[in-house]
Symmetry: D3
Subunit: 313 residues, 6 copies
């Protein structure tokens, strides 16, 4: 679509790490492009359980192969482990799902906006200028995206002027994240254009207006989406129901549990397909010890097959 910059000021300003941080901590020496970071040390402190490497910006780096495996997950499989571990608030739904049949998986790259307030914006702009940042918009954040990222945006449910991207920037996000994905508690524009671009997306609404009347207030800070506190680096998993934000330390367990579930589903449906059993004889777990044994053997065998298959890749 027409670049908004040509025809109307986007009115997206920025608050440089909104009054919450010592400037010195803001700009890691090694990443001068990152103007509005969540200070790396805090990010590291608050995600201390992360068992994986970290990205240069400090976010936990869920490994690529686990992200790949996560594409086989469904909301229910994530639910089972997170609920057991006491994480009751990691699921958000009620989105328009761009590609219902396509699972989204990637690392959360978070962005936060607040309603525009000109007195605050003015200060933010001048602070930004002091740090050599001339232009502060949604693109400031978008330009920082990495392969494997899912862009997670808190636009407080805004529809009109709450459009984080149109088709051009959606295309850019797709390229930059290698089709990672988008979750926005806000809206998008150019749905016709977006519908031709191959990247999963979850949004609240669609509107023809460009983003505006808001201030960019945080990049890779903890954000709220639906009833979830999303941390930068969370594994984001989206299916046709909704989106799960998985803390890195639970990723492995979620995936291993899902393997068992897939096998259990295979076996259950196979049994149902035979037409000899009532549902309760087979599911949740077989009542007959013999069937129970049959299942355990099936599970063991299939798990081994899966592991072999995986290691051979």
């Amino acid at each position: 679509m027409t670049p908004t910059a040509r025809r109307s000021p986007t009115q997206v300003s920025v608050m440089v790490c909104l009054g919450v941080c010592a400037i010195a901590l803001l700009v890691p020496a090694a990443a001068p492009a990152q103007l509005l970071p969540f200070p790396k040390q805090d990010l590291i402190d608050y995600t201390a359980h992360n068992p994986f490497d970290r990205l240069p910006d400090g976010r936990p780096k869920v490994p690529d192969d686990l992200i790949e495996r996560a594409r086989g997950l469904s909301s229910e499989e994530v639910w089972a482990v997170l609920e057991e571990k006491g994480f009751h608030n990691q699921y958000a739904d009620g989105f328009h799902v761009l590609y219902p049949g396509k699972t989204m998986a990637g690392r959360a790259f978070t962005v936060q906006f607040m309603p525009l307030r000109s007195d605050v914006e003015e200060v933010a702009k001048s602070k930004a200028k002091e740090h050599g940042v001339s232009r502060l918009t949604n693109q400031t954040a978008i330009d920082m995206l990495q392969p494997g990222d899912v862009l997670v945006v808190d636009l407080f449910g805004k529809k009109v002027n709450g459009t984080i991207v149109g088709d051009n920037l959606f295309f850019y996000v797709m390229k930059a994240t290698h089709s990672g994905g988008l979750v926005v508690d806000g809206s998008v524009r150019d749905l016709d254009g977006i519908s031709e671009i191959d990247m999963p997306a979850y949004f609240r609404a669609v509107d023809p207006t460009p983003i505006g009347n808001v201030m960019l207030t945080g990049i890779n800070v903890p954000v709220r989406v639906g009833g979830v506190t999303v941390m930068p680096g969370d594994l984001v998993v989206g299916d046709r129901e909704g989106v799960y934000f998985v803390p890195p330390q639970l990723v492995k367990e979620v995936l291993d549990h899902a393997d068992e579930t897939h096998i259990h589903d295979e076996w259950t449906k196979k049994k149902f397909d035979e037409g000899k059993y009532k549902s309760s004889e087979i599911y949740g777990s077989p009542s007959d010890p013999k069937l129970q044994q049959e299942y355990q053997e099936y599970l063991k065998r299939r798990l081994e097959e899966i592991r072999k298959q995986r290691s051979s890749k």
Copy 2:
């Protein structure tokens, strides 16, 4: 998905025919598997207009060939006859429709739940035990489904923990009913899995939680879904708009009326296709006596063709 029984108690309890029945009437001699029936005699009394045979559980048995013909129905065709007969409350809509292009038709198998209340549940459990029923969950009802049934569930619109089935049980229902269908004033889980299983389904929402915090309170009892009182054995017809519950005594008339409507539609569109007429010259009925006659002859001829075609099957 992971069988819920393994990781969290489903919390689905049962009230044995909730305080409304003499226990002796509950378990028809011939159907010991039916633990929570609507007493057969009452069901028979309240569906006395049923012109067809009955299933062993007492439900009217709309014949298979009529169910087959019902797959050609749309909501409007049902509306026409029911409205005329004074049935103003047999239509429910506002559902998520799993397969918009696929008509659902089958016999209503009804199930009712109420919010969990531990004092009542405790009594219900002990009553159930007295009758040799060890485990009382949604599966108790599901295990009783017959070919040609549509599972109709009153879960009072519950989303979280209102998930009557996930993909495994959905698969079982599909097998047991021969793809009859599901209507739930509540939710389902595992939508990704369900979307691969070939059975029509109408639900209010999707949620990753398993069913819980409810009590199973009735099987094949009259239930409320949307603004409809559904009786066990009703013909359930679902199209892409919503669901109609047709009393058995009206099924034949609905279908015959629909035959005429289909022919009328054929003829109307054929005439419109000729491009010579204003809509009001042809529709609702032709204003010109000659056209009227042409239509009547067309109708007669086509009705005969349809009947021949049917009898030759």
Copy 3:
């Protein structure tokens, strides 16, 4: 208002104990006026924890003096005990509250309606006639109300034609229950008239139409209101927030706990009033052992005073 019977048939029919009961059980010898009871024995079984006497219709009879004490309850005080006892579904809100400053307390007298269906209604009517019941409407239930009752009606949220009473019947209910109260998951009419009658009421909506297009399907049966399963005889407590349905066996504990809470509130506010403490030094409980002791003594003394006061009445 104009008696609806004069100008339009109320269309409220009845299903005699909707297909769920043996007729013989329906009419207790001692209460021939009760045409549609929840069989007394089942009611007794499912409320077996009731520590009090019972009304002739079998409902637990929370004593009058406890009902009187319950007028001092608030939703929060009920919540505390019920939550602890594992009752998570006993609270309903979202009502229009007729008298926000006036607490409602009484015994649940429950009524259930379902959407009208003429084939079922016809059978119900003829069954009723066999039992000598000539007229079956909302008034059939209303005429059975006792002093101390709160009329609890499940009209499935219906607004138009979901008006359980207008001002005349509201007046009757007030007289019959001694200003017990009304909770309806449906509507009322004649709000102007009702607003002059001194009885607490909770309703979803107001509409000028009379009740209609529904069938009376149960009296003193378990009903659903909001997300609650209400049992006949529950203590119903309504404040300006919403309505709690307290199982009889918990009434005493709820009330005693409330006594302590009232004293705790007195003391807390007295301390806050002194202006010497931060909130966390006093509330939830005093951090300073000396204050803790002061509180305990205050509590003991006030409890004794309250008890004396009560026994002296």
Copy 4:
């Protein structure tokens, strides 16, 4: 479906130019079929900026080739020009979109309904009869549709009995308008049938009832749809987000601007595809003067190509 005229009076009456016009002005000599026109002169006055020819009924006639070009528009492209020109209220959304991937473009043919009121209806009927109009229904308007029209109906959001067409009339509209389209702030029926007919449609709801309990009060009068004042002859553009109503005088500018936008999108995505640039280096406009120049040349070249392509058709 069954023609409603056979089984229930449609109850759609008409107010002949509801009390707002001198009868003499109503029936233009040249168009006796138009019983309820917005007087031609007023329509001409209020659309005085129209740069195109007019239809015989006085509506601006956006040329066919521009309508064809408009099929390439998206909501955002229209937004850009209309916003700049001070038209802030020309977009309506929140519709069910029948064919999300198919752009709708055509000339607005407007129809207005109001809630039925028998005293007004009676007068309207007798006025109509004086003018030789015997039957006044939704079909009266539908019969006046022209190729290239989009039927735009103000049914004030009515769902039940707010169904402007079922499948037969939808088919007729498709034939009469040459697949122009339908926008109704109300509902349709026969969605199953409609889904097989190739014409874009935007509606608020679906219902099995026929249109009724309303009066036809205006044909080709200014109407309100969502927050838009639609004038007869507006260019109606619908994509998968919503519907834009473009005043004829802006059509050319909207289309030319869209050409540039399409080229800008092409170039932007091409650049993003190269993977060498951050989004802000390219979009909204290239920051590097060399890139800027590259773009300008690309734009010029492509515009020429497009124009050649168009003129060669």
Copy 5:
């Protein structure tokens, strides 16, 4: 509040009788202040059943004494007669009611707005100027109000910039109509100020913005409010539930019927107060012939008393 004219153009323009009328008909000789009337003759034609005099602007003039009596009406009493007469769409609810305990009664003075559209507005302005009307805003209509009027405004539910009046103009309306009243399918501003002014008002919302982004398109034209077609001169009756719009020809019958209802209510409550009867013995009508006779005598006597009382005034 601050007059909006000082700080922001109200943006309320006018379409002179929106393209629907011959200008010559617009300005009745005797009422030069009425710039945008619904032509008097049409108004007279469409309200031909009016049994009363007419106001100079052509509206039916329900007599003052009947308006006074109408202050004793409730929605239910109006419902009874209108329903019987086949008027099913004359009631609107869902408003904020300024004075719940104060009945509103008066003659409908209707005003209609549409979303602003600058091209149409421009024409309207120039047409207005030709007729010597320099300023066209909500005040143009408000300045035409008469004693006994209720201002009925169709602002299509608009909240922001849909504020028909603030406290100053509300005060003016109160003075001009002699506390007649206001019904707006839109909003008001200055609720604090309005709450001190003694006039009934029904509105959808409250907002601090002034009216704007709309065009005044009709004065005393038929308008839609909720699901009602309101005709100028209708008797408007508002109680704490909602608003009824009574066609003039039914006013007398509604009032007479209400007299009987009031007496019936008196008698019914008196009987209930005696505590000797079940509700069904007395209400709708007494079952015992003796009680029936008692009631008939009471009714007769009280009707006479009321009539005497009225005639003696």
Copy 6:
């Protein structure tokens, strides 16, 4: 009510300045009780336009006499100045208003919560302990309130477990702020108790549950309430419509403008009361130069009177 600490862990944890601040900046030497401040310097930077003194915590201190004057403000009066100054997002409505007739005015003391996440909470707790903070709940913030404060809480609209205070803490807030007020984008509990305490309050809902399942994440940080970015120290003004958050630098202008508006209203209503003028002759501003002059003199005289009156206090 029962102190929640006794019966259930409040589950309110804290994130020490959620990963955004250098710990050293957090605890101003002079205010060791403030564990989670927005660093004083940032607060000062971002509120640099503040023309008044500051509170010890760095917040702008709108003077007490201006707060007193602000009790005479209405939403519309604030709107006029803020709109003109380009502040379009400072108004929030849709609240339950505890005392509709009582204006709220005070300095914003802001608090932010996020959904609970146990991994983050654990880190926060251990960070807090390092700083000697043993208990971190809503009371941590409440204990820091000052006279003249309005407690402004971002609980993201949470109802269940989103109850910032019950009656005891509401009482404490009333005492601590000298009846300043409460605005919560969340809920309260103990409405019965709260209704007896004299402090203005604005909340989204009421619920019997205590606060829980959330983390306290910021005290006196910028927060979002409705569509507003609230800065600590904003003047909060609430009337019966909603709440305005006025930047300190605009307070004086808002108040002075309101003086003129009050006088204008006085004069306007006085003129309307005379009954000689049409509304447009007087309002917005008098059309007749003589009246204009009369008004100007009235304005001048009354302004002087008001100023004298004020200075004499």
